[in-house]
Amino acid sequence: MMQQLLNSFSRLCVTNNCLTFSQCMSVKFPTLSLTINTQPQLQQIRCINKLGYLTETGWRNIGNKWLVKFPEEYTVKKLPLMKLAGRDPTTGKKVYGGLGGGHKKKYRWVDNVRSGPKEGPPSVEKILRLQYDPCRSSKIALVAAGDRVRYILASSTMKVGDLISTSGHIPRNAIRPKEGDAHPLGALPVGTEVCCVEKFVGEGASIAVVAGSRALLVRKVGERCILQLPSKQELSLKQECMATVGHLSNEDHNTKHIGSPNRLRWLGFRPRSGLWHRKDGRHGRKIRPLPPIKVLDSRKSDKVIELPLTIKTFF
């Protein structure tokens, strides 16, 4: 009952960024002091509310599938996760269909930045264990060095007890790559299979992060490296972008047969209906030439402050 009470009053939270309509009302008609103050710390993890997504920092909407609140500092502890079932957390409308239900999950914060020293010996980390992650198809590795423990995406040849190194140095001649190590693209020889590649320097891996995927370093042009993506499209990246040598773990993920409709429901997919013509329309095989190479430089940063007004319409 107390939970419900707090939930109903949780909409009345004020920040610098926006004013909710209900807060406007309460300023005009002052209510009991129970309503105004924020929930105590203990409650925040249990009742995650979608509107907290707008009013506090650290919330991240992952593909309209999950809503996770990230703490300020990186942590290896599992984070509570709220399922969105394809709905947009602000409007509540359905964005993607076919999602809903499924087994409860906890989010493991995987550090997808592998940065190493530009000079001197590479930084070495030890693999403590390889784990299953319900939020992604590949396995994750618990990795430690010095005082820092973190999760990274596990490549296929990683084993417990291995030492993996990360270096930011780009030598004159390409190095002999070892699977599991991370180097900038400029340091690797042409023809290397890489995974967990950064699009923009220092941002973190976004290319080839899915189970079994790999990108191929096709050629080097000056200070740029041309990468063949898993979709066979080519991409021109800066040579300082970090990449992990090898391909990602759990290669037979896409060959595993789901087996039953129940299993698909446990994975969070709602029952599908609709005629599927294997060779017609959008389902048919397409044969097209590849698009031209995309050249990526650095991410455009628009310093624009967005002030969301959440006043409800009168319709």
Binding site: P40, L42, V124, I311, T313, F315
Partner: protein, 425 residues
């Protein structure tokens, strides 16, 4: 196909709503107005701050006229918990290392060795094995009855945590009511010691020479990697005697053991599992005052009360080592002062760890509390392999059943206990 009526006129509200979805995100572009105004000496304040909407609203609940600042009735119906930030009474700006009951070291025993600078042997010392002897059947029968009493025949029924099988993730097992682990531990250990006492009394050894404390917080304050470190142990039963235990190894043999190198934990730091925390209490705690009749620590029994712990490798052995170290360090600090580094006389204790089913027996000899010294090892630790007390103790077809009783456990405990008695005599 939907069988609702076709609507010919457009609903303006729908159009408005769709437009509002985009227009509600007002973009504030930076034109540098604030800097220009401030350069001219004009103050620029955020509108929301100016309105001061986050001001504390005065309570409408009644107040005492004599003490207007005191709240008669607290505004909150729920008790406020202390926030873990600088407003916490135990907050320190300098982060310190804290080791407590629920700390699990990442790599296990090797890390514990590096933290406490200890050399580990895989057998109990010769003096203990010389005390081992076969016990009569009646004694074993008493202990078997004690096991049944502790695990199955106790009247306390508590809702136990959910049973989880990792290989069947969604499966809900029927919820079990049973004895909590702390109760099983306490009952079993107290009965085992009671049996030990009565057996020794039969052999004309005075069992009252050893006295027990129960479930008291022990805290030792040390310096690790230059930072203040707090070592705490809470779930324990300590055994005190009149005289201290004699050290197990001395002189040349000890020096030979200590010269052997420690196992490598590269690239980890030894403090990787003891995270730097800002909230800790710098207060030394030890239950028995110096000068009391039984003020010499001889044995520490540590409990693992948390159910369903996922441990791997040597994490449990590491826990035993660091708990023994904590308790011995607190005792040494009480005897020789808070800042002692190298002890004039080593502190020797026997120790035991149990989760009411598996038993770990060990001996610890503390020589130095200098954890940042250049010496690789200063202390000694002897530990035996884990011994299960039984394989099964449960209700089978509504009958209490005990299977696979291991007499070695009681015999090892008796050997450790006898060695303490010998010291007392």
């Amino acid at each position: 196909m939907r069988l609702t009526a076709v609507v010919y006129s457009t609903h303006i509200g729908n159009a408005f709503r769709q437009v509002w979805k985009v227009q509600q995100k007002r973009k504030i572009l930076e034109y540098g107005v604030k800097e220009k105004l401030e350069a001219k000496g004009l103050q620029v304040v955020d509108a929301v701050d100016f309105l001061n909407l986050k001001r504390p609203v005065p309570s409408i609940l009644p107040k005492l006229k004599s003490q207007p600042d005191e709240k008669l009735i607290d505004d909150f119906l729920l008790p406020k918990s202390l926030k873990k930030d600088h407003t916490h009474p135990d907050w320190h700006d300098e982060p310190g290392h804290v080791y407590h009951d629920h700390c699990w070291l990442l790599t296990g025993l090797h890390e514990a060795q590096h933290i406490s600078k200890t050399f580990v042997s895989n057998n109990l010392p010769d003096r203990i094995t010389s005390f081992k002897s076969k016990l009569p059947e009646e004694v074993h029968k008493q202990v078997q009855q004690a096991i049944l009493n502790a695990h199955v025949l106790d009247a306390l029924q508590v809702k136990l945590p959910k049973d989880i099988d990792i290989k069947r993730p969604g499966w809900n097992y029927p919820r079990v009511y049973g004895l909590p682990r702390w109760r099983r531990n306490v009952q079993l250990i107290s009965k085992m010691f009671h049996t030990a006492d009565s057996t020794l009394a039969g052999q004309n050894i005075d069992a009252t020479q050893q006295q027990f404390t129960s479930q008291i917080m022990i805290r030792a304050l040390l310096t690790l990697e230059g930072r203040p470190s707090v070592f705490e142990a809470r779930q324990n039963t300590l055994v005190f005697g009149k005289k201290p235990l004699q050290p197990y190894l001395d002189g040349e043999v000890k020096a030979e053991q200590l010269s052997k190198p420690l196992p490598d934990i590269y690239p980890l730091n030894r403090t990787i599992s003891l995270h730097g925390k800002n909230i800790y209490r710098m207060e030394h705690k030890f239950p028995v005052r110096q000068g009391a009749p039984f003020d010499r620590l001889t044995m520490g029994v540590f409990y693992i009360n948390k159910p369903f712990i996922k441990t791997s490798g040597t994490q449990l052995e590491a826990r035993l080592l660091l708990h023994a170290f904590t308790v011995a360090a607190a005792h040494a600090q009480q005897l020789y002062g808070k800042d002692v580094k190298d002890l004039p006389e080593p502190v020797t204790i026997n120790c035991m760890q149990t989760d009411s089913r598996n038993f770990y027996f060990a001996c610890f000899q503390l020589h130095s509390l200098d954890l940042d010294s250049s010496k690789a090892t200063s202390n000694l630790f002897w530990i035996e392999d884990a011994q299960p007390m039984f394989t099964k103790c449960d209700y089978v077809d509504n009958q209490p059943v005990l299977e696979g009783y291991n007499p070695q456990v009681l015999e090892t405990l008796m050997a450790l206990y006898k060695s303490q008695m010998a010291a007392a005599v």
